[in-house]
Symmetry: C2
Subunit: 360 residues, 2 copies
């Protein structure tokens, strides 16, 4: 009794769900605003969307009513009406890699600038099944398009039945000609790394590659090999890691066992960090005896011991171009089906130098 008596006075227009059992009118709708302002809901709509043809007095009245009621447009209704969600889905396998999170960040920023929200669709493990599941889930998700950040060759076999009407842009993969692809110019970056070391006078360059399943790792390794072969140098056996510093450390220990190894190109900075540690522990000074080059140019790389020479990747630019490419599709503008390569550049720091026998 008392409570009931108090309630009407307490909350002007609660909005919250008063009724214990089920959900009550959660939010203020146009009709509510219209009623308060003494106009039709269509006029409220016009004001809400900034359409012309509303006289200033009316407009003010509606805005006042909106403020009073705390009106917020219902995006579900909007989406239903317009047939689109203004949302971009991002399918990825983990944010833990620096590259991924930087790319996603850039995607989110640029998408926001274009009025799109971004929805994350994480894939536990990049297995065929899981990726498929993600696509299926996404089919039911409120997204207009999708940016896929993973090794798409996981999908090749199954010719995934992508829901029609959902547009796709792929990052860091070989989507072939099926989707537009945005990617860092991995090959050129690897080439620059190898060239840098050869130019310093090293006879050849050893390579610590990423995991075999990784397409990015693949391309870096291929370019490394190609550059060595083009220069007529011997191609040492590949050491392989899993992108982690730990795995780089183990690879580094193996490399340290080769006395003729004077130059190492690691497929990413973190493995390079592990290599630095291994070489240090084995008494092989860097860059005195061995030179090391990484890939990515993560923020920490300049603080390694010694500061790491590495290949800079512009993740932000990759994210930017993804959004652009996807928006082009969404707007039905002519899509460029090919691969859009973001250039890389070598950042020379203190981990590279001429080989110890340079003067001989």
């Amino acid at each position: 009794m008392d409570v009931d008596a108090i309630r009407p006075a307490a909350g002007v227009q609660r909005g919250g769900s008063d009724v214990p059992g089920g959900r009550r009118k959660q939010r203020v709708s146009m009709a509510d605003v219209a009623a308060l302002a003494g106009v039709s809901s269509q006029t409220v709509s016009r004001v809400s969307n900034g359409h012309p043809g509303v006289i200033e007095a009316t407009r003010e009245q509606v805005l006042a009513a909106m403020r009073e009621l705390g009106y917020r447009p219902n995006s579900a209704a909007r989406s239903l009406r317009y047939g689109q969600f203004n949302t971009i889905g991002v399918i990825l396998f983990g944010l833990s890699s620096t590259g991924n999170s930087r790319t996603v960040e850039a995607i989110a920023t640029h998408a926001a600038a274009e009025g799109y929200a971004i929805t994350l669709i994480p894939v536990d493990m990049p297995t065929q099944d899981n990726v498929l599941g993600a696509f299926t889930r996404m089919g039911e998700l409120a997204v207009d398009g999708v940016i896929v950040i993973l090794e798409i060759h996981l999908l090749d076999a199954s010719t995934v039945a992508l829901p029609p009407g959902v547009h796709v842009v792929v990052v860091d993969s070989d989507a072939g000609d099926r989707y537009p692809v945005v990617d860092t110019d991995q090959a050129d970056g690897a080439r620059q790394a190898v060239r840098h070391l050869l130019d310093l006078g090293h006879r050849t360059v050893w390579h610590v590659a990423g995991p075999a399943e990784s397409f990015a790792s693949d391309r870096r390794a291929k370019a490394w090999r190609a550059e060595l072969e083009a220069a007529g140098r011997p191609v040492p056996p590949v050491e392989r890691g899993d992108w982690s510093a730990e795995s780089g450390y183990r690879a580094g220990l193996r490399l340290a066992a080769h006395p003729d190894c004077t130059a190492v190109f690691a497929a990413n900075d973190q493995m390079a960090l592990g290599v630095l540690r291994a070489l240090h522990e084995r008494g092989r000074p860097v860059p005195g005896h061995v030179s090391v080059v990484g890939f990515d140019d993560i923020a920490d790389a300049s603080s390694y011991l010694p500061p790491l020479t590495t290949v800079h990747q512009d993740f932000a630019e990759v994210g930017r171009r993804c959004v652009q490419a996807l928006l082009r599709q969404l707007r039905n503008e002519p899509a460029d089906p090919g691969t859009d390569l973001v250039p890389t550049r070598l950042i020379p720091r203190a981990s590279t130098a001429p080989p110890p026998d340079a003067g001989r």
Copy 2:
């Protein structure tokens, strides 16, 4: 003419927008499925949602029709009907910090497991205006609740008018009693770090703090000071960085100038990395002359030179609890208004040792 004649034969039910001008019926609706299956749309709805009371034969028929047409439920319509979006918004300032991306990853994973999608709402710079903008934008966003990962004291002044009906969980901040808070037990972590160094025999511990605006940095610094004072040790002046390895390096150079500095507690691992580099360059061996402890236990820390003793933060657990807490709110279960602290633990590695004068 020819084209028109061909079309019906060519595409079974294109779905794509044929009409050049505007958007045509983009997707297959329940009505389409119902028509093909020869049932009412309500029956399609029942099948779609796995409701009981549909005879097996009918059910099969509907499923077949769904498959044939490639039916996917329209989540906008669903959301409109149900009054909720099954989506959680995450407001954050950048994914670049390891902690943030790991937390977001965990949030995304657990949210997905509960049938929620997550929408990212990036804030360019954590200024009052931007954060407010994010909240406003979010008000119009299709989210049922929000997880805020930033220094909420940026918001304090303005008593942000959070849209009613939107639930909030805050990470890594002092939201006071306004919202449930999930956080790492920063204070205890810092205490452990200091204690570890004192136990090794160091007379006192120097501190490289994070930026002044950071609440996390604040708490670590406060706990560091408190622990020193409790032990009756002198409290050296605080050096301050911005979380980056570069800033840690500069702070490290300043510390290296103090000959009596034998123990350093850095507020995160990356600044610790910079400190390691500075000490190395200044000929102060770690841990021979100086011991260093970090905070976070990022993956790379075990590969630093030397491998870093640090305080482990369980970001994944933080993410998990955030989702749990938010879901509890969404389900109108009794919310625990207090702060939920995730414990930390010290990981001893090779960067700490007794001070050089230990035997004296």
